[in-house]
Symmetry: C2
Subunit: 434 residues, 2 copies
């Protein structure tokens, strides 16, 4: 393969970095926590501020701003009407009291890269083979609204917009109302033919740091099984009600939580499990809980193991319900299969890194990302930059400027040559997976 | 002992019942649930409606209405300035989706009885030895604000009003603000010299029904130990974070919940335990919980057993924290000793029932009640009427009209003779207990 990146005029790296730093710093203030983190739940006031800020910047850069029916915010640079797009992006929403890099980095880096390339192509009167775009997906985190990845799921068609908009948060506020209140419920779908989707994200693990790599190229993902499990007991006084008559939904949930952990301990490093969210009703100190909803996750790279574990968990839940005299329902059961990411884009990423002199390595993601979702409908690439100690979903999350800039450089170089049709040789290996 | 109730003119029972039914029906509408229960949390809008309704009725009846600094609402009939009061009452607040009898019955029955007696004494130009009063205590339930029994605790001086008013609900709304918003934060304490406190309440157990008794006379109470226990872990991603590094506060709480139940199972019928309320932070499906607060209760008639159980629970909590790599704090630890209620009032109650032809029996309360709180500073009587299947803190709670009317008859007769100084012979056995 010949060099991909040489001999073209290109926006100076130092200018790109300057723009990124300005935009990222300003955006990080919107929902900042005193400890230097970010608290910017999907479709919240703070999310609205961050969206407004990005939207205004993209408009200044003459990107074509579009908002779809679930609030996905696009900035498009269309050089060649009718040609497919190479889209990049991530999400501006965060977990509660979380870090400022997760998601936001990919959106800001993508916006800066797309705007710079659009400017270059205009100035140089170059018409690239593919159009470019950046996107901020709605509610990637799944913190305020369950499930996660709502915006990209609607985009790919696996979730109907009308269903997504009806999902309520813990206070009963529908996503549609929340988006409307911040001015981000668009009127219709934004339909884009995609040549490729590229997302850059902090690693949330320690492999890159331990192996002295600048860029991780994700090749595959862990499978995940997400259950919303509801135990139903009987509301009663915690004082006089005889113990033998109690139907305690919280006791049932507690047994389920400890069992989910026991399963993970049985398969060290091969199985992750967690219960991160619980809703307890009526949640009064003097009342035996009558309804508890627990959000249970199991993750593994081995889909067979996940199936086996699920069978055992199901059997145990039935047993717990019997022992605690409660009933139970599985309100939702979502299996995310293990995915192999697009090989051609991954190879291109390695080649770009090599030409830039940045060490890169193949990687795996345990966490879900919008890129994994989009890979079901278009060739997708997920890139990682190092994150200190792998700390994620925590205010202490951190990535150095150097690592951020390396990622930005890689992303913009890759988008440039891909939009010019270079390096995208060979057949895509992505097919539609269930 | 000579007859207590004969030979006096007295308001017709049928009129008393009619007044009670009208007031109770109207009050039960304020915060009613579709299933026939009540959802009237302390200092909520609905609680404000119920208070307004009672206040207007008491004013119509020429009772002297007073509101103290924590919203306790008094209706006083002062015949003999300077003489002590015989106070009756209970609470208008409810648990979430609870029954319409718990608390409200005692307030409405008390108000009707006091108003009728005041009218009789005025008409008959009788000056009784003791004044009369009825009270609605603020936040008996402890559902919206923890701890329970806030109003009566401030009245007895065991909780400072300023501290009570600063207590916040789950949404961060202070009790003081909530009371102010419904117009029930009075300006100062209402200081009443008390000769006696009398409370009538539904049983929340099945002893009366099983033994065909109309009235239960509570002789003693179970001790209760209430812990607010907080586990602190480390916020992390539920996906990639290695299981071995997780510090999962919810997992720790789940172990504590199952252990609290194991302890109760070890001492059948002698120990009750529960966890009714939990607060989980950040409570997002994809985040390992960093902070979980659990409200744990142990109850027993045997104070020694409670001490022994607490020691074992403490030891287990320390072990759980070590095993889950979490830290823990006991945010509050409240011991409510087992109390012996006033013997003289109890004997009087049995005598009154006997003269009324109503079968009565000694009883015990497992649940806390304002009467138990007040018994620390004044001779107190707690009466029970039957409750179907002992169902409490549930919309299905039910007591028949006949049982309600029997209780009303007992209460009004007892207040009448006690206010006239009859039957209160012998020495009170109530002393100040810790």
């Amino acid at each position: 393969m010949s060099r991909l990146l040489s001999h073209e005029p290109f926006i100076a790296h130092s200018l790109l970095v300057k723009q990124f730093q300005q935009l990222f710093s300003a955006s990080s203030e919107l929902g900042a926590t005193p400890a230097g983190g970010l608290h910017r739940l999907a479709a919240s006031y703070e999310d609205g501020l961050a969206r407004d800020h990005l939207k205004a910047w993209m408009q200044d850069q003459q990107l074509d701003v579009r908002i779809d029916s679930v609030g996905n915010l696009f900035g498009l640079a269309t050089f060649n009407p009718g040609a497919p797009y190479i889209l990049c992006g991530s999400h501006l929403d965060s977990q509660p009291t979380a870090g400022r890099f997760d998601g936001a980095y990919g959106v800001i880096a993508g916006a800066v890269a797309v705007a710079a390339l659009a400017e270059e192509f205009r100035q140089q009167r170059i018409t690239p083979q593919f159009n470019l775009g950046v996107v901020n997906w709605t509610n990637e985190e799944g913190a305020r609204y369950q499930p996660s990845l709502i915006g990209s799921s609607v985009f790919t068609g696996s979730l109907a917009a009308v269903d997504a908009l009806a999902i309520e948060d813990g206070d009963g506020i529908a996503l549609g109302s929340a988006l409307e209140s911040i001015g981000y419920q668009g009127e219709s779908a934004v339909t884009l033919p995609l040549a490729a989707y590229v997302e850059i994200h902090v690693e949330q693990g320690t492999d890159l740091t331990e192996n002295h790599q600048a860029i991780g190229v994700v090749r595959n993902t862990w499978a995940a099984l997400k259950l919303t499990l509801c135990f139903e007991g009987y509301q009663a006084h915690t004082g006089p009600t005889p113990m033998i008559e109690r139907q305690d939904a919280l006791l049932a949930a507690a047994h389920a939580i400890t069992f989910a952990r026991e399963l993970a301990d049985e398969f060290p490093r091969r199985l992750h499990s967690s219960v991160g969210r619980m809703e307890v009703y009526p949640n009064s100190p003097n009342v035996v809980p009558s309804r508890v909803t627990a959000y249970v996750e199991f993750r593994s790279q081995e889909q067979d193991l996940l199936t086996k574990v699920l069978n055992r968990f199901d059997a145990r839940i039935a047993q717990i319900a019997q022992q605690t005299n409660t009933a139970y329902q599985v309100l939702s059961r979502q299996l995310r299969n293990s995915i192999v990411m697009d090989n051609r884009l991954a190879e291109l990423a390695h080649k770009v890194c090599e030409e830039l002199g940045l060490p890169s390595a193949d990687s795996t993601t345990v966490a879900g990302h919008d890129a994994v979702n989009i890979s079901r409908v278009a060739p997708s690439l997920l890139l990682f930059v190092p994150s200190r100690d792998g700390i994620a979903h925590n205010e202490a999350e951190f990535t150095t400027d150097q690592d951020l800039h390396n990622g930005l450089y890689t992303l913009s170089s890759l988008l440039r040559c891909a939009s010019l049709g270079r390096g995208l040789t060979g057949k895509a290996n992505t097919d539609d997976r269930p």
